[in-house]
């Protein structure tokens, strides 16, 4: 295509990839919409059935492809539509954070939040907070930085397209 960079043109704005579970957080995001709550346009929401479906590779891939932050939204503890998928998500996030830290990815770039279907306001608030926090952390620009790295982390990516140039241009 035109190779046009993603995100606002003026100044740098963080891009957040958000994985929301179908039953609680995605529904809450819908509620935020029907309630016309306003939040910054930096988040790109991807629907999964359960926060437990979020493979740590999804998070790593999002960072590798240029995300500045990743948000995972699941049901509150005890509320999971699938009984306990959110606990699995929590376990993985704790482990994943440890790994990301070794890669120099700050804790604030990965956030796990419990947001129930009625908490549209919380969706707006969390996205607002996260955009602000990541804005302060600055660009991650993993695609730009990764040339100097051991490529081990990224070797697993299923489709080796990774048009690094495009991400470099931002």
């Amino acid at each position: 295509m035109e190779g046009e960079p993603v995100g606002p043109r003026h100044g740098w704005e963080p891009t957040i990839v958000a994985f929301f579970c179908n039953w609680c957080t995605y529904t809450a995001a819908d509620l935020a919409g029907t309630s016309r709550l306003k939040y910054p346009p930096n988040a790109r929401i991807i629907r999964v059935m359960c926060s437990g479906r979020v493979d740590p590779q999804f998070v790593v891939e999002a960072f590798a492809q240029g995300a500045d932050g990743v948000l995972i939204g699941g049901c509150h503890p005890g509320d999971c539509h699938y009984t306990e998928g959110n606990y699995k998500a929590l376990r993985r996030v704790i482990l994943l954070r440890r790994m990301l830290r070794q890669l120099g990815i700050e804790d604030g770039r990965l956030r796990l939040e419990w947001i129930s279907a009625s908490e549209g306001e919380k969706v707006a608030r969390v996205i607002r907070e996260m955009v602000q926090a990541v804005r302060e952390l600055g660009p991650l620009d993993l695609p730009g930085r990764r040339a100097g790295w051991d490529a081990e982390v990224l070797r697993e990516a299923p489709t080796p397209t990774a048009p690094v140039a495009a991400a470099d241009g931002r």
Binding site: P8, D30, K38, R44, I46, G52, R53, H81, A167
Partner: protein
């Protein structure tokens, strides 16, 4: 950039459809730019926009394009997939394509409704559409799973809503289990004297329905029982019900009530729950004369036999050969299979003690409206006499509206019924006692059939209405006239002055709140609550009795404050929804199950303990994992955990999600 094993010849042919949703989307997102952008994405053959894509002509566009442009993938940028995914799947199927070749992009809920800046919103929409186009390349044709639906229905809660839902279903020939926590059905309505605005007596219209429940061959009624556990899924729920012992055999008791007469307690001394403590009962009792079932209950907390084991057991003697009293009765559990569940668990009234300056609990003659209902009721503790605690008739009564409602300190919402029941109580108190009745209100809300007329009638009768929120109820007399009275201090906003009105009786029109255990019940049935704690409907307008959990429906005030006509209407709707579900005999489930690619499975068993449904087993011969499709509910927890990537999930394949991640981030 698309999968190698692309199923159709000639590569992907994607159609992108952008919906304006009137001005909902088009008002913020630049539709022209978005459509042009989509048209130039690799693999896209046609991109169109339309005012209302979900309408017939909109769907027709998709259908025609599939035929004319030989599309093999469809992307619809419109509202939430939770709202219209099925619509566009159906349109795609009508065009002759597998319905799962569709991907929806929410550019309304996730974009135009939450962002003001048209530029940013349009760029976001472009990212989302690009991601969907890349994702849909990896979609595969799928078949929906069909599972049989159990024809029985469980109704939880035996108030008017539960009763009406149960009777409707039973009359349609379905078997219903009605579970009620209290020893009798009837709920709040059984406590009322007359109902607004028609002033027909609550008992006259309710008790025949209660009796019909008991007599109906299609209804199994369990009172004094609670749902303990819910397993399964839509069409196939397994429910465990705990039945508390009432120490009386329901099948043997005929309701002669001779045992109550015979009780060693000559006087009724225990505060009576049904009359909100205004009356007294014995340890062996029946909640009220028209209770259904007509079976007595023994309260082990107050019964001498249970406390000391040394009672003469005159009740057992009185029952004689019938032998209905069984002091050895224990708690039992029942397990039932049902296809659908209707929750009609009702409400509780606001606890007036929370507002200390209204004096409830401090001044004996401050009552809640529900207590006054019992005083007015002919079968109540005073036989229908409206009297003060000392037996005097009140000469002047003040009714305070919006107690606990429309108040940021307590509940911000309007409880909907209080204005009308306050006017009703004013009318009835005036009718019974001739007292002068004042209503203190913020606004009078009478938006129902015959409601405004009822209000006008009350005005004509000479009932006084003072517009203003009451600041305080006290017994501090400032003038001789106020001596021995309760003084209501109020800012009369129409007269523009603070007034002090001495009265004999204060009635607090308490609002409606979710049941104290609504949170636990919600978890038990795996549904959601609004922030106030009311059970959350699937859609406030188009699915008002459905929940986000398929096969579980809502009726009555558990979903939000409502009056009797609305509760009954909703109960009928819930019954119809349940009937539509079970009468189909079977239902289609989303084919989003997980499956194992056997060749890649190393048999490490990581997945086995992760599955909450025990759907994964290891096949002995091959030592590889296997997923039982019927048990899998498609959460994908195992998929994310499989170290070899050999577990995959239909509709949420790794490739699809990776494509979406790349799509939202990288302009191709």
């Amino acid at each position: 950039m698309w999968p190698e094993a692309y199923p159709t010849d000639g590569g992907p042919r994607v159609g992108v459809y952008v919906c304006h949703c009137g001005t909902n989307i088009a008002g913020v997102v630049d539709i022209r730019r978005l459509t042009d952008y989509a048209a130039r994405l690799p693999g896209v053959v046609v991109a169109r926009d339309y005012k209302y894509m979900c309408s017939d002509p909109g769907q027709e566009l998709i259908k025609k394009d599939i035929e004319e442009h030989r599309l093999n993938r469809v992307v619809v940028a419109a509202c939430s997939p939770l709202l219209h995914e099925h619509t566009f799947r159906a349109a795609t199927a009508a065009g002759g394509l597998n319905p799962f070749y569709v991907q929806m992009v929410s550019v309304r809920e996730l974009d135009s409704w939450v962002h003001d800046d048209p530029g940013a919103a349009t760029r976001k929409a472009q990212d989302l559409v690009r991601a969907a186009v890349q994702r849909v390349m990896f979609h595969e044709p799928l078949e929906r799973r069909r599972v049989p639906v159990h024809p029985n229905v469980l109704v939880v809660g035996g108030g008017i809503a539960g009763i009406h839902a149960a009777l409707t279903l039973a009359n349609a020939g379905r078997h219903v289990y009605l579970v009620e926590r209290e020893p009798t059905i009837g709920g709040h309505m059984a406590k009322f004297d007359k109902t607004f605005p028609t002033l027909d007596c609550a008992a006259c219209i309710l008790t025949p329905k209660m009796t019909a429940v008991r007599a109906h061959p299609n209804i199994t009624l369990w009172t004094y029982a609670e749902v303990e556990k819910v397993d399964g899924f839509v069409g196939n729920y397994t429910v465990t019900v705990k039945r508390r012992p009432r120490y009386v055999d329901e099948d043997l008791c005929v309701g002669c009530l001779e045992c109550i007469q015979a009780c060693v307690y000559k006087e009724a001394r225990v505060p009576d729950e049904f009359n909100l403590g205004l009356g007294r009962r014995k340890p062996i009792y029946i909640p009220f004369p028209q209770a259904v079932p007509q079976v007595v209950v023994i309260d082990p907390e107050t019964c001498i036999e249970f406390k000391s084991g040394r009672c003469k057991k005159t009740c057992v003697e009185a029952c004689g050969d019938r032998g209905a009293i069984n002091l050895k009765q224990t708690e039992t559990t029942e397990q039932i299979e049902v296809g659908a569940i209707i929750l009609a668990t009702g409400f509780k009234t606001f606890d007036a003690r929370r507002i200390p300056y209204y004096g409830y609990g401090t001044y004996p003659n401050v009552y809640t409206a529900l207590e006054v209902e019992r005083l007015i009721n002919a079968s109540g503790p005073t036989g229908g006499q409206v009297v003060l605690r000392d037996g005097r008739e009140p000469e002047r009564v003040g009714i305070i509206h919006c107690v606990g409602s429309r108040d940021t300190n307590y509940n911000v919402y309007c409880s909907r019924v209080c204005c009308m029941y306050s006017i009703k109580l004013a009318h009835l108190i005036r009718e019974r006692t001739g007292a002068e009745v004042y209503n203190f209100y913020i606004d009078i809300r009478t938006p129902g059939k015959g409601f405004e007329e009822f209000y006008n009638r009350a005005l004509e009768e000479g009932i006084r209405f003072v517009r203003g929120k009451v600041g305080q109820v006290s017994d501090w007399a400032q003038t001789p006239e106020e001596q021995g009275k309760l003084v209501i201090q109020v800012e009369d906003t129409l007269a523009g002055m603070v007034r002090r009105i001495p009265v004999d009786m204060v009635v607090l029109s308490v609002g409606l709140e979710p049941q104290a255990d609504a949170e636990e019940v919600r978890r038990l049935f795996n549904i959601s609550c609004s922030t106030e704690g009311w059970f959350l409907e699937r859609h406030p307008k188009l699915a008002p009795v459905s929940t986000f959990t398929d096969g579980i429906f809502l009726a009555g005030a558990c979903q939000g404050p409502k009056d009797i006509p609305d509760a009954v209407a909703q109960a009928g709707a819930a019954a119809a929804e349940a009937l539509a579900l079970i009468d189909a005999g079977s239902i289609e489930l989303e084919p989003n199950t997980a499956y194992v690619v056997e060749d890649d499975c190393s048999g490490c068993k990581t997945c086995i303990p992760l599955c909450p449904y025990n759907a994964i087993t290891v096949v002995a011969e091959t030592a590889k994992a296997q997923i039982t499709e019927a048990l899998c509910k498609g959460c994908g927890v195992c998929v994310a955990a499989c170290p070899s990537g050999s577990i995959r999930q239909h509709l949420f394949e790794d490739e699809q999600i990776f494509a979406e991640i790349q799509g939202v981030l990288v302009a191709s």
